[in-house]
């Protein structure tokens, strides 16, 4: 394989701090975010020649966003594979920049899931009225009242059955994310919670409690990715892309073992490309749609053996100060989950690698290499997994 290490860098980031924005449009939040991320990088509109985005609600989002921004990019990538789409975008931007087709890509996302009253996890198909289902696979799935929570809950149930994982272990993930959120002034929920609090929250879909599920917010953000030449002239020190891997996992005609998730396939090429191992990772941003997502992902990324994820997350290991701090912004479980969260993994990893929180409890000390893993779709049916490994300059 061609050596793509440091063939592109993240040079600008912006997180729209809103968690509730009924008076803005989705495209407006994206535009504001792009403008701020370019400012962060010291770049301008004229520098942007690649546009990467996904949307839950805007049709042809790349086309409509280019129109809104009055931008004529040389490359538009609308890859939409659920919440982890943005790790795929970064991987694609790396290819395009290395190939010399573009010099500067913007990756962006926004939504008004919260102000729009979208039941992301428990809506089923209700928000489309009450239609005839699409032929396949919906006619053989949605027929039975699938929800996003339910699909993850079925994986949690079997994980408990096979490996003895407990609700307390799942809760530990939520508790840790809340502790991190308490250090993030923008987080939606900042008051500390205990394992007992999680266990006492209502059961949405057995065995998952409400606090095992991510929050629903509005929000958005943007990431600017540049060629090494351009990156050297930016305001911020570059955060280099070391490796990327992409995968999908699905039902495999009713025969695939759904306990293994796409991270199992996507992490190997990312680590191989980066030339690092799990031991070299200083912090990780792990898509935390649900507590079980974190446990399954840590296992299938190879941070622990299959079935040991429940043990792995105990004793502060995934918290700030632990061996493998994850989601130092508070994650989807406490900070924000605007329908899709993959972009925010890249934002926080970049902030950590820049040392932006130096001198505060939120900073991972001596943070040199970070991993982001986005999961999109649902573990129990079909989903995507995008792994990217980033390094400080």
């Amino acid at each position: 394989m061609v050596d793509l290490r440091r063939a592109a860098a993240i040079v600008g980031v912006h997180e729209h701090i809103t968690r509730y924005a009924p008076d803005k449009s989705e495209l407006q939040i994206q535009a504001e975010s792009i403008q701020k991320a370019l400012e962060d990088a010291g770049l301008e509109k004229k520098d942007v020649d690649g546009l990467f985005c996904a949307s839950m609600s805007v049709r042809n989002s790349g086309l409509n966003l280019a129109d809104y921004l009055n931008l004529y990019p040389k490359m538009v990538d609308n890859t939409t594979v659920g919440g982890g789409s943005f790790e795929f975008h970064l991987s694609h931007a790396l290819n395009a920049i290395h190939a010399g087709r573009i010099n500067c890509a913007v990756i962006t996302y926004a939504t008004q899931a919260r102000s729009g009253g979208v039941s992301v996890g428990t809506g089923g198909i209700s928000r489309q009225g009450h239609p005839r289902l699409d032929p396949s696979p919906d006619s053989f799935e949605e027929l039975y009242g699938l929800t996003t929570v339910g699909l993850y809950a079925m994986i949690a149930q079997r994980h408990m059955h096979l490996y003895g994982t407990t609700s307390e272990q799942l809760a530990e993930v939520a508790v840790t994310m809340r502790r991190h959120a308490s250090l993030n002034p923008e987080a939606l929920f900042r008051d500390p919670i205990t394992v007992e609090d999680v266990m006492r929250s209502p059961v949405v879909s057995t065995p998952l409690h409400r606090n095992d599920c991510c929050v629903i917010t509005d929000g958005g953000g943007a990431v600017v990715v540049a060629s090494p030449e351009l990156a050297r002239n930016c305001k911020q020190k570059p955060v280099w892309i070391l490796g990327a891997g992409e995968a999908v996992a699905h039902q495999g005609a009713g025969k695939r073992d759904l306990m293994y998730i796409a991270a199992k396939q996507s992490h190997a090429p990312a680590f191989e490309m980066a030339g690092v191992t799990q031991k070299d990772i200083d912090m990780a941003m792990i898509y935390d749609s649900f507590t079980i997502t974190v446990i399954e992902t840590l296992e299938d990324l190879g941070f622990c053996e299959k079935g040991e994820g429940g043990q792995y997350v105990l004793n502060g290991r995934i918290g700030l100060g632990g061996d493998m701090p994850i989601n130092t912004d508070g994650g989807g479980l406490s900070s924000n989950h605007p329908g899709m969260r993959g972009l925010f993994l890249l934002l926080e990893a970049t902030r950590q690698l820049r040392g932006q929180f130096e001198g505060t409890e939120r900073q991972v000390p001596d943070c040199k290499i970070a991993l982001c893993h986005g999961t999109g779709g649902a573990l129990g049916s079909r989903h995507s997994g995008g792994t990217v490994i980033l390094a400080k300059d």
Partner: protein, 135 residues
Amino acid sequence: MTTWNKPLPTINGETKTFWDMARRGTLLIQKCDSCNEFQWYPRGICSNCWSSDIKWFPSTGRGTVWTYTVTNQNRTQGFDTGPYVLALVELEEGVRMFTNIVECDPKDVSIGMSVEVTFQQATPQISVPLFKPAS
């Protein structure tokens, strides 16, 4: 016939035979004549070898619960009235399908329990395969 207020499947050329036989109380899966693999859900090609040589195959309708969840919260009409069991059942032929476990207390469902197919008539054309504890 109970009133069906849940979503209904769309029947097309790929699935008409399936629903015709479901109405008569038979659960069909598919088997490939080229590679002998079973597949679920029904589709127009063999997803294993991409041959078009697929045949309908009557399942025994027996299987075990591979995993399940008791869903308390779903805003979809028909599923919004109380707990129901969403499950993946592994048929004896080795393929897993989504379904609901019915005719038992949700609390009594467990992974590995033996179940068998039962059909609930939704419309004169459509009977939906569900599973109940094996007799």
